[in-house]
Symmetry: C2
Subunit: 124 residues, 2 copies
């Protein structure tokens, strides 16, 4: 589901037990270093806003960030809110499953709404 | 092994079959969003220099970047040069092993030397 979009970027959620968002550039690039410098700066600013809102709303034990795109070489940023009792912690979400977690987290939809407000403030 | 150091950051290699460097802040922070803005900017600039040098020297199939630090909550950046025939591709290096790779890569030591030159040019 697309939860944010502007001329340069869009943000989608990844279906998961944890809060997990992905930031894509509208134009496709293979690597972060292929982005024009101003776009790279804006990506890190968006990522920082997402991270701060995740921390404020979900109070996770740790934020995880990753840029892989090995299957389809189109660079994008994963931002994940991790909990000590989530199914993979302390492994990355791509690692070995540690347990069957049952996280009780506040509404993801309300989080997306609060994040949209913050992102629109930043880009307007 | 520490391959670079300044007042704000140091860079270490991770022993691996692939080129894999880790950028740490000298002062410890838990999350990227805890870094002062100017330090965060410098971190992304250092990461970009490492990435560009990796691409130029090793010609990898994909660059992977990650910030996890779940075991010990001290933020740092992993920068990895990935190859289609490395042991984990297309999985992240924390994922399931796919094969026993035998990569023939140019000298890591010479890469570290060329990278040191680039980083010193940037920070001086």
């Amino acid at each position: 589901m697309k939860i944010y979009e502007d001329n340069d970027f869009f943000i989608e959620d990844e279906k998961s037990e944890i809060p997990w968002l992905k930031i894509f550039t509208q134009k496709e690039y293979k690597e972060l270093s292929d982005l024009p410098p101003e776009l790279r700066l804006k990506l890190f600013e968006l990522s920082n806003i997402v991270e701060l809102q995740m921390r404020s709303y979900f109070a996770p034990d740790k934020i995880n960030i990753a840029s892989f795109a090995n299957m389809l070489p189109r660079v994008h940023l994963h931002i994940m809110a991790r909990y000590k009792n989530d199914s993979y912690f302390p492994q990355p979400m791509w690692g070995e499953k540690q347990r069957n977690a049952d996280l009780k987290l506040p509404s993801f939809d309300l989080f997306y709404k609060s994040l949209q407000t913050k992102l629109q403030q930043f880009t307007s």
